[in-house]
Point group: C2
Chain length 413, copies 2
């Protein structure tokens, strides 16, 4: 790409600026979704948005006022690049266990899970370096890493097919979303978590455990985190192992606060701080103080059961509607957590990119499988969100999607 600046009369011939090469590979999903959002009456099952009425508005409004009055310098001045020490301590305490010993130096506060991914890319990726990841994979992670131009290796996590050396060897890091992966909703079991942690310890390859959805589990008990499994291998001193754990308050409290965190070995945290210094100097102290207040008051713990109940009902409503209207053409597993159902076409020649276009025209927006594939080959799956719409809207959205499939199959488009 070159800039299109008009040269003035007398303009001179010099090498013109161009945009960085990665911009030719950017995904236009967000732009398409935003454009679709303007269609009146559209049912949006594409995004990963929370139900907005669930935000604890009154409490957060009160906290915001109180923390500014009580801690004006923390809230309004420059915060430390690594975050307010009180919140780093609170995160360290929250994740600590007899096996996993964390202190402030294990925690970096960031301005969201996306920023955490951006910082990881900055410190670990040079052009052409290998990231091993579960595919289909989170498109936002690929967006974060695009400017560093990595290569991807498909991490095969099927039981019996996992080869630690082939999976981890030579990679700069392994990227995994073990809890209700975006987009597939898949839960990685304990045996596979253990195998990945073992492989990380054996090879020295960093294992990134991205865990934004842990608060959204609808069935069963939480599985051990990989950072816990890693800590159990050493059991001495503060955590120094190869797992890099990412969390945020976007799902359990409010995404608008833009507060996330990275838990890792202190050496890795120091390196990430250097990257954060050049990324935004520091995060908002106000937002960090609000999150700390919401943790200390127990607000986050009180919210959780309400959110889980609401989203479980919506997951069930979506899956029931899919069973009624889409089972002829798609297969899926009802996820035990997260925000998405991943539906794969029975007929692999069904082009879900085209299906998404037709759906948009008749009033339902879903995520095309292709954007979750860095090789952009997979065009026979869909991602459906169930958190942002009430059950009756979910059901109507699925009906429209079934209409879109019929249109596509009949060739009437």
């Amino acid at each position: 790409m070159t800039t299109n600046l008009p040269l003035q009369p007398g303009g001179v011939a010099v090498a013109a600026p161009r945009y960085a090469a990665w911009l030719a590979t950017k995904n236009d999903l967000t732009a398409r979704f935003v454009a679709a959002g303007r269609i009146p009456g559209l049912i949006n099952l594409a995004g990963g948005l929370p139900e907005p009425t669930i935000f604890p508005t009154e409490e957060l409004a009160a906290y915001a006022r109180e923390v500014i009055l009580k801690h004006p310098r923390d809230c309004l001045g420059y915060a430390p690049t690594d975050g307010l020490p009180e919140l780093r301590d609170a995160i360290a305490a929250r994740y600590s266990s007899p096996a996993l010993r964390l202190r402030r130096e294990n925690v970096l506060l960031t301005a969201s899970g996306t920023q955490s991914l951006d910082l990881l890319g900055k410190v670990l990726i040079e052009q052409g370096d290998v990231i091993a990841a579960q595919f289909p994979s989170y498109v936002g992670a690929m967006d974060a890493w695009r400017p560093r131009a990595p290569q991807y290796r498909n991490l095969v996590l099927e039981d019996g097919a996992f080869d630690p050396l082939a999976s981890f060897g030579g990679a700069q890091f392994v990227y995994s979303v073990p809890n209700f992966s975006n987009p597939t909703g898949k839960l990685v079991g304990v045996a596979m978590r253990t195998a990945m942690v073992d492989a990380a310890h054996q090879t020295g390859v960093w294992l990134v455990e991205d865990d934004p959805y842990c608060a959204l589990q609808y069935d069963g008990a939480p599985l051990p985190r990989m950072i816990d499994l890693s800590a159990e291998r050493s059991r001495q001193g503060d955590y120094e192992g190869p797992v890099i754990h990412l969390g945020s308050v976007s799902k359990e409290l409010a995404p608008g606060l833009r507060v996330g965190w990275i838990i890792a070995a202190p050496q890795m945290i120091q390196t990430l701080i250097a990257a954060k210094q050049g990324a935004d100097l520091c995060s908002s102290g106000l937002n960090q103080r609000i999150v700390l207040a919401a943790m200390e008051s127990g607000l986050i713990d009180r919210l959780s059961p309400r959110m889980v109940e609401l989203y479980r009902e919506r997951r069930d409503a979506l899956c029931a509607a899919m069973a009624e209207h889409l089972a002829e053409w798609f297969v899926w597993d009802a996820p035990v957590g997260g925000m998405f159902v991943w539906a794969t076409a029975r007929d692999p020649s069904l082009d879900t990119d085209r299906l998404v276009s037709i759906g948009t025209e008749i009033g339902v927006l879903v995520g095309p499988g292709s954007v979750f594939d860095p090789w952009a080959k997979s065009r026979s799956a869909l991602r459906l969100n169930f958190t942002a719409n009430a059950p009756e809207r979910l059901i109507e959205g699925v009906r429209r999607l079934a209409d879109a499939v019929r249109k596509l199959k009949s060739g009437a488009v």
Copy 2:
């Protein structure tokens, strides 16, 4: 660098992960400043911090509560990647003039001036690309661009010595802080601003006008912005020219809100949005709404005279103390704005890196000139901040600095 992860018994020999190469070049200034900040009684003239008692705490506490109650979805949900439309419109209106026609599409909201610089690096720099900049230059900008590994060209802006083609030709962009440059405090005059804008239009090279200090002018009238001078060259339609203007509320309101903006041609803004999507997805809607309230209520305008008066008095106190205690060894110009005085040693062999170390030991911290030089050769200048300390502390700091010079000169260290 390689990771120091201990290989477990049975560890296997594979290519170990390493950190990205740019990390070997990171500046350790911040870490040194933070460490020095722990010394009791130290007078810190090194940072670029505001006087914290000047924050409008009561007003911002009230706004924070009100905007969450009134606009909970804007504040607590995901904001658009490009920012809340109402604040984009307000920024566009604030900068618009008969010549400079701006609309929402000319404005990207960012999470600080530092993030603006990071995004620019992401869209314009490939390894080895050339940035032409005034040197000494803002170390935070160099920090933001380190992960893209640019080369720097020294932009000579002396009257009579400015050569547009040699300065701009072949650069990806030109970086300038025309108002009270950090670290030198230098004001770029109208003739040179015009010459730079002409060069940008002639060559098609982007001209970045970083303007964080515009609210902090202590003498004389503001000079025209380069984006205004650029707009006067076309006078037709909305702005499409080569100037990229950066602003923020960090100096005029509160840095803890982390709200900045980029004003540029819509095509450039679109490109920067793609970079922001991967950097943090979006900025905090809460913080954007607070800034909008502070603009609409006139709070920002009311703060300005108080801030200018306070900082003018401090600049005068620092410069008077320097005239009394440092004139034997240093020369400087009293800046008409900004936060810093740049002092150059009369004897070029005076090593200011060593002087900074001695000063730190005897209780005064100042910025060493070397960190503002990407070639790290310049070791005969100092940056002194005057905004963060009351006059009596500034005077005592200068006295200590004079003691440090005497120690250095006497070889008694």
